[in-house]
Symmetry: C2
């Protein structure tokens, strides 16, 4: 590989093994560094009814996860994300966006937006879903609901 | 990057700049080699009404394109693909599948199939569309119809 700078974005709270897989994929491919868009509290809460941990707590959990997962010594920059297409639409200097399968269909629109802004289109890197013990996807919503823990173990 | 073996599949005929972008993306990310699934004539023609060049001609064009695009000296293996999920469902030893945005939604189902076969799920790498001079996508269908050439130039 020769120089891939990746972006990844999300709310990442509560952090779970699906997020960790996304972060590990970003580390693996991002040999020229990672920009992480972490949603602001206002932006994260506007689209959700569930509880979202405060920004600083989500950032600290992200930093711990990167510390655990980074085998490559990548450069990681965390930025506060205040709207849906921040970073991908205003950062010319990225090569790829790491997404979950659920966000993959937005890649074409993201590249339309980049072209309108005069930026090169980027690749999407789609990390596979991580399944919980019960075969369903791990999600923060399921964790907050008390169905599973952050590693996808079913709570009884 | 540390060891990514990629697969890419298609009919690739007539070969155009959208295909070349897909092949270049596969070369860039595939530092542990590429497996290329090239559709058999029977499989390629079953789903299409347009003319499809014969397998050997499509393979020769692919080999020329790889020769032009490979800056990295990658190992490339071309296999005949006779059904929709060949390679991704029967090849355990790949890390990622390079796809166009139109195929990206199939990644989740591909990984379900891999899990059923006891294989690890793989990443998807989504190469952006390449636009023709008129702002629409380049496609083999448009070339065969005589609207554009293989580089997306509008034919008058």
């Amino acid at each position: 590989m020769t120089g891939t700078r990746v972006a990844v974005a999300g709310t990442f709270g509560p952090l779970h093994d699906g997020h960790r897989n996304l972060l590990e994929t970003a580390l693996k491919y991002g040999d020229e560094g990672l920009i992480v868009g972490l949603t602001s509290d206002a932006f994260a809460r506007a689209s959700r009814t569930r509880d979202v941990p405060p920004f600083d707590r989500r950032r600290a959990a992200l930093e711990t996860a990167f510390g655990d997962l980074d085998e490559w010594g990548r450069e990681v920059e965390i930025r506060r994300l205040t709207d849906e297409h921040g970073i991908v639409s205003d950062e010319p200097d990225i090569d790829a966006l790491v997404v979950s399968p659920e966000t993959a269909p937005e890649l074409a629109a993201i590249n339309d937006l980049r072209r309108e802004n005069g930026f090169d289109p980027i690749e999407g890197i789609v990390a596979p879903y991580v399944l919980a013990e019960d075969g369903e996807r791990i999600s923060s919503t399921r964790i907050v609901r008390g169905e599973i823990d952050e590693h996808g173990r079913v709570r009884n």
